[in-house]
């Protein structure tokens, strides 16, 4: 019989993982066509930081080689950005006119970095930190220029700053919050992190609000000016102030979108059952995830449904964070901020640079924030996910998994 046609828009980790899952359970069900905007096969975006830090090479972070696509009979249109989808005729069309018809469409368009609407954000040397191109720009700039400013003291920003510093630049991190990574760390851990990074040579400007980026006359950025009038020299400005789900195409397809493309528990868009969405571009139960673990879980469910098994349900994910800066151990998961109705257990060894906070609600562990010693992170994350009572082991919790 004639195979159905599956078209995937977006050649990133979430999408390709979905295909892998699908091929595992239903290798012959579809003719698969993939459109990707980047001229690369699927690579591990999470490992861009180690690449920037010079700890890994681009080759090492490729997940699926060109050969993988052909071996699995997948038609790959790398570097071709899809601009239009006709849901009536069930056809997708790329910028260059390439077309492909589909029976099922999988949207995995990911997200775009958010660029602050500042005067001068179009100057040369002002970039985001999202893909291989950005990474290469940073590596090159580090060879020729001295001063870098990273706007955003979150996970990505700090990894970028650390990488640039390791490549010899003088790096200042500009952050509007009171402490670093305020979405992943509480104040204490944020403080420990800051002093650790400062010791490594990073410079921090907290509670700083950027007013504009100043050019050097030749079209390249030369400095950052803040609202209080201060200036910081900058030959390179990296914006790491968050991502926005890439939903331009979906909107043109008139799919229902909020922050991202709204999908149900089987990852089908609520608008069109033939169209699936996974990854950072998908919004499930109000949440658009930006971390890899949930995306993989979504992929599994989508593949399961595409394979006509239809038993997989996605229930949402608990997320945990690790900072990929060598020598800095840091972990947080769940509601580590605590607050109303929660209790906290805190352990600290200031001299040893260790800080641990566990948040407990009722008899369950609901959050963890570890700094300096994260060996128990996975155990806590497991307890979090299982949501089982920790009443009996509460006094041992802080001292690691009891060895039976």
């Amino acid at each position: 019989m004639k195979k159905m046609k599956l078209v995937m828009v977006g050649n990133g980790m979430a999408g390709v993982r979905t295909l892998e899952e699908l091929l595992k359970i239903a290798p012959d069900l579809y003719d698969i066509t993939v459109f990707g905007a980047e001229p690369h096969p699927n690579y591990n975006r999470i490992l861009l930081s180690p690449v920037l830090a010079g700890e890994q090479t681009l080759e090492q972070i490729v997940l699926n080689s060109w050969e993988w696509y052909s071996a699995n009979g997948i038609t790959l249109h790398a570097g071709k950005k899809v601009v239009e989808v006709d849901r009536t005729r069930r056809v997708v069309r790329a910028e260059d006119g390439t077309e492909a018809g589909y029976d099922r469409l999988l949207l995995a368009t990911g997200s775009n970095p958010f660029i602050l609407p500042l005067p001068g954000n179009d100057l040369e040397g002002v970039i985001a930190y999202r893909d291989i191109a950005d990474t290469q720009t940073m590596i090159e700039t580090a060879k020729t220029h001295r001063h870098a400013v990273v706007i955003g003291g979150g996970l990505l920003g700090l990894e970028a700053a650390n990488g640039l510093m390791l490549r010899g630049m003088q790096v200042s991190v500009v952050h509007h919050g009171d402490w670093l990574m305020e979405r992943q760390l509480d104040k204490v851990a944020g403080g420990l992190l800051r002093s650790a990074l400062e010791q490594r040579g990073l410079n921090f400007l907290l509670n700083a609000h950027t007013a504009e980026l100043l050019g050097n006359g030749a079209g390249r950025v030369r400095a950052v000016r803040f609202q209080d009038g201060r200036e910081a020299p900058a030959d390179l400005v990296v914006m790491a102030v968050g991502i926005r789900p890439n939903i331009a195409l979906a909107q043109r397809m008139r799919l229902h979108c909020e922050r991202a493309i709204v999908v149900n528990d089987t990852m089908q868009t609520v608008t069109d059952a033939r169209v699936y969405a996974v990854g950072e571009c998908a919004q499930h139960r109000g949440i658009a995830y930006g971390l890899v673990a949930p995306l993989f879980e979504q992929g599994k469910v989508a593949a399961n449904h595409l394979a006509h098994h239809g038993i997989g349900r996605y229930q949402g994910s608990l997320t945990s964070t690790k900072l990929k800066v060598t020598g800095i151990d840091l972990f947080s998961a769940g509601n580590f901020q605590g607050g109303e109705g929660t209790e906290e257990i805190v352990m600290s060894d200031a001299l040893g640079g260790v800080y641990k906070k566990l948040v407990i609600q009722g008899d369950k562990l609901v959050g963890a924030c570890l700094y300096g010693d994260t060996v128990d992170g996975n155990w806590y994350f497991q307890l979090l996910r299982e949501g089982r009572s920790v009443e009996q082991i509460r006094d041992q919790l802080m001292f690691g998994q009891p060895t039976p």
């Binding site: 209790e343 006094d395 001292f399």
Partner: protein, 925 residues
């Protein structure tokens, strides 16, 4: 260069001579005086550490260094000058006397004052002011012995001497844990036993104390039944014909009445009442009566009783009836608890006495003294004894109190009344050497007095031997000598009273002593043959009348006694049970007594952490069976409640006690053991419980027996905080911690020390418990005081559970040691982390497990147990380990211990305990 000064030890009544080494105005060492006839160079654990209690750090932290005055009760005292202080005091006293008469003032003194101090105070009260309201803490200590002697022998004079130990064939030790309370005397007993292995030793004591280690027979009689025992012994003596009718006929009177009295005290009845076997009774009686020479040694077990006088007299009866008196190695020998209770009485330092053993009740005596002092009259109205004095103050009768060198808010029974007295009195003066005693908190005026190492004068020990006390260093701060303070105050008061301005011309202690000496002329204690120069050469026993060159080692050798007719009087006092018997509501007999390494209120011994090695913290002891019945485990907190008060204290099992008996050390006053009742009143330490009921004759309270109930205290939240601290801070911190935790239902706060190697460091341990966790702020303050606030401290906090832990590590390279700990909530980890801290075991491998809860150490740490030998810091566990490898007889194994660990080879105070441990372990086959 170091100078040496011969003086005496300020602790117990053995009166050991010490040689103080000082350098540049600072005491730097102490050793026993080889020439002193009391100790011949030996010192006990307390005496041998005296110099440490006089160190610069201790002085700075614990001494009262300038006159202070409180604007209002409870306010912080403010310093003022001596003249202002004494003028103010004289003014207040003069006013009270003018408005309410001389009997509205009272003086409460101490058996630790020197004879000269006493004399001036006595003259001040009875001569100048004209009140007999002058009493001393000897009332809590010796007055029953005094009354017993006077009732039977006619004078307050122990007829025997230490040398008699060498001549005795039978030692009859009653109500005295000599091994702990008079260690050097016990060394001499051991020597005597060694020299004469045939010597028989009988110990009569409800508890199986360490003194029993050397005994051939231990009579564990029921509390307070001594009189019945002695009458029963006399009954047997008569039946067996063991009395000496000849002696009785020639030298005594009143035997018939006694004979009739003891007729009913059959062995059967005695066994019933005293709870001993008839065999034991017979054996003890035979030994007492038929040994060639029997010497009785007795102490607080006899004296601190509602029938204290009867007990003393009944025992002396036995000596008279068997003629065991007036011979070498024979006689009733009362041991003194304080260094100069004897001297105090020589100058008449009790409310019923006048100088040189004269009696207040005796008109002729009053006239003699009035004439001698050159005052119109000595008031006939008998003065108030200690208990009566504080009761009178509580009732508003006595309005001004002058307290010197003693700590009634710790040591007097029925603290509720004592506190009421101190609060109600209009004006309370406290003359003290130490700033931290419980009584300080109640004083309106604090006068700094000199103390050991700074004072000049004389003391008299248990065997009537007068020794010179000498100053090795100048007074600390603005402190002054007690006699001098009294005289200065007296002169000022005399001016205001308009009489007796010439009564106090003294310039030196010697001038005071010379006047005192004159009062003894022709009295039983005539010392007119002595002078300071003679005493400088060598201590002398009284009497030593003019012309004599030697004091009399023992009295009544000629069978003539100090009564009018020269005959000793038998006392026929029937047995009366303890004043307050055990009942269903209060089913336990609470006994109090001394610890080996502490003394009295611990104002001095409490300054040395190392002296807390033997008994580290306050506990009440119970028999294991009684504990099992109440489902109590070692360390559980209990409410100890009598009719008069309640305290909270941990319980500890001791098979040395009888059933339905409990024991707590007399030392644990509010300075170390506190808490709050459910109604919020502060718990006042051991004497919150004790009874003021006293002997009708001697007025000595029954501190040795209080009926109590013992109930488990359910205080789920507990705290243990301890840390090593710098020498010059530790004692301050201890005092501040004690005050800080005062609001908690249970608190005990003690120093601890570094034993043996590297000795001299001091730590502080705070233990507390409550119904719920206190405010975090309090714990933060405690951590701050113990140096647990820094970056080098590991922390854990689970506020909901009331769990908070802090462990301070001292990191030196790879090694790390625990130097401070706070465990709040769950304190089970004390079992191992305390050993880590106190023994300074390496802790680097524990990491953050140091914060864990488990009662078992993450890796093997051995709790050291208490320190048995304080001199060399040898711990119980070390001794047990060694014993486990020893073989042979008891002596051989003891020798092996001493050879391997040195324990008990210096002062020897722990030898009885070592013997007990040897006996308790099987020799290796």
């Amino acid at each position: 260069m170091t100078t040496e000064t011969r003086s005496t030890c300020p602790y117990c009544g053995v009166g050991c001579g010490v040689v103080i080494a000082s350098h540049a105005g600072q005491i730097v060492g102490v050793r026993g005086d080889p020439q002193h006839p009391a100790n011949f160079g030996r010192l006990c654990t307390k005496g041998s550490t005296l110099h440490l209690t006089a160190s610069a750090e201790v002085t700075r932290q614990t001494r009262l260094l300038q006159p202070m005055q409180r604007a209002a009760r409870g306010a912080a005292p403010q310093p003022l000058g001596w003249d202002a202080a004494l003028d103010g005091a004289a003014e207040r006293f003069a006013r009270v006397i003018a408005e309410h008469g001389p009997d509205a003032v009272g003086f409460y003194l101490s058996g630790q004052l020197l004879t000269e101090d006493y004399y001036v105070f006595n003259k001040l009260a009875k001569g100048l002011i004209g009140t007999n309201n002058l009493d001393t803490n000897s009332r809590l200590c010796m007055s029953s012995a005094v009354a017993g002697y006077k009732q039977t022998l006619g004078a307050d004079a122990p007829p025997a001497c230490y040398d008699d130990l060498q001549h005795a064939d039978c030692l009859f030790i009653v109500g005295s844990n000599t091994a702990w309370a008079h260690p050097i005397l016990f060394r001499r007993i051991e020597d005597a036993k060694r020299a004469n292995p045939a010597m028989q030793i009988v110990v009569v004591d409800p508890r199986r104390t360490d003194t029993c280690e050397i005994a051939n027979l231990h009579l564990a009689l029921q509390p307070g039944t001594d009189v019945m025992l002695f009458h029963g012994m006399l009954h047997l003596m008569l039946r067996e014909g063991w009395t000496q009718p000849g002696y009785i006929a020639a030298h005594t009177s009143g035997f018939d009445a006694l004979q009739t009295l003891v007729r009913d005290c059959t062995p059967d009845a005695v066994a019933q009442v005293c709870g001993i076997t008839q065999e034991a009774l017979v054996q003890a009686t035979r030994l007492f009566a038929t040994s060639p020479a029997t010497l009785s040694l007795y102490c607080m077990g006899m004296n601190q009783s509602s029938s204290g006088t009867a007990k003393n007299a009944a025992l002396i009866n036995l000596h008279l009836a068997t003629a065991q008196i007036g011979r070498a190695g024979a006689g009733p020998f009362s041991l003194t608890g304080q260094p100069n209770a004897m001297g105090g009485r020589e100058v008449g330092g009790l409310s019923n006495l006048l100088p040189a053993h004269r009696d207040m009740a005796n008109a002729a005596h009053r006239a003699e003294v009035a004439a001698f002092w050159g005052v119109d009259r000595i008031p006939a109205l008998p003065g108030k004894s200690a208990i009566e004095m504080f009761q009178a103050a509580a009732d508003g009768e006595i309005r001004a109190l002058w307290i010197a060198c003693t700590n009634p808010a710790q040591s007097m029974p029925d603290q509720a009344t004592v506190r009421r007295a101190l609060q109600r009195a209009e004006f309370v003066v406290l003359q003290e050497a130490f700033a931290g005693t419980a009584t300080c908190a109640f004083a309106d005026l604090l006068l700094p007095a000199t103390t050991w190492g700074e004072k000049e004068g004389t003391v008299t020990n248990s065997e009537r031997r007068i020794s010179r006390v000498r100053a090795a260093v100048p007074a600390a701060g603005a402190a002054r000598h007690d006699w001098h303070i009294a005289a200065e105050f007296a002169r000022r008061l005399a001016g205001r009273l308009g009489r007796g301005t010439a009564l106090f011309p003294y310039e030196t202690p010697e001038s005071v002593w010379n006047e005192h000496r004159e009062t003894t002329r022709g009295r039983d204690l005539d010392i007119t043959g002595m002078d300071y120069a003679m005493l400088e050469a060598t201590p002398q026993q009284w009497p030593l009348p003019a012309g004599a060159t030697q004091g009399r080692p023992r009295l009544y050798e000629d069978g003539r006694f100090a009564t009018e007719d020269g005959r000793a009087r038998f006392a026929a006092t029937p047995y009366r049970p303890v004043a307050e018997a055990r009942s269903a509501r209060y089913p336990f007999s609470l006994n109090t007594g001394r610890l080996r390494d502490q003394w009295h209120g611990m104002s001095r011994t409490g300054t040395l952490g190392r002296l807390f090695g033997h008994v580290p913290e306050p506990v009440v002891q119970m028999h294991p069976q009684d504990m099992a019945l109440q489902q109590l485990a070692d360390g559980d907190l209990v409410y100890l409640t009598s009719q008069r008060g309640s305290i909270v204290v941990p319980v500890a099992a001791s098979a040395d006690l009888g059933l339905s008996q409990a024991f707590i050390a007399m030392h644990w006053g509010p300075e170390y053991l506190g808490g709050r009742s459910s109604t919020g009143t502060a718990l006042a330490g051991v004497n919150a419980l004790t009874t003021p009921v006293h002997c009708p004759v001697s007025k000595q309270p029954e501190l040795k027996h209080t009926p109590v109930k013992i109930l488990k205290a359910e205080l789920p939240w507990s705290l243990l905080a301890m840390a090593w601290l710098p020498q010059d801070e530790a004692l301050h911190v201890r005092a501040r911690l004690r005050a800080l935790a005062d609001a908690l239902p249970f608190v005990s706060c003690v120093p601890f020390g570094d034993q043996g190697a590297g000795a001299g460091r001091t730590g502080v341990l705070l233990r507390a418990a409550g119904h719920e966790p206190p405010a975090d702020g309090l714990l933060a303050q405690i951590e701050q005081l113990l140096g647990l606030s820094g970056l080098d401290t590991l922390r854990y906090a689970d506020p909901r559970r009331g769990q908070r832990r802090a462990v301070r590590l001292q990191r030196t390279g790879e090694a790390a040691h625990v130097v401070g700990v706070l465990l709040a909530g769950d304190t089970r980890a004390e079992a191992w982390i305390r050993a880590l801290l106190q023994d300074q075991l390496p802790a680097q491998d524990f990491g953050r497990q140091l914060l864990s809860f488990q009662a078992k150490a993450p890796v093997g740490v051995k709790p050291r147990g208490k320190v048995v030998c304080s001199c060399f810091g040898v711990s119980e566990s070390a001794i047990c380990d060694k014993l486990a490898q020893c073989s042979g007889t008891g002596e051989e194994r003891l020798a092996a211990l001493q050879g391997a660990l040195q324990c008990g080879t210096n002062c020897g105070s722990c030898v009885p305990e070592l013997k007990r441990m040897v006996r308790a372990t099987e020799p290796v086959a």
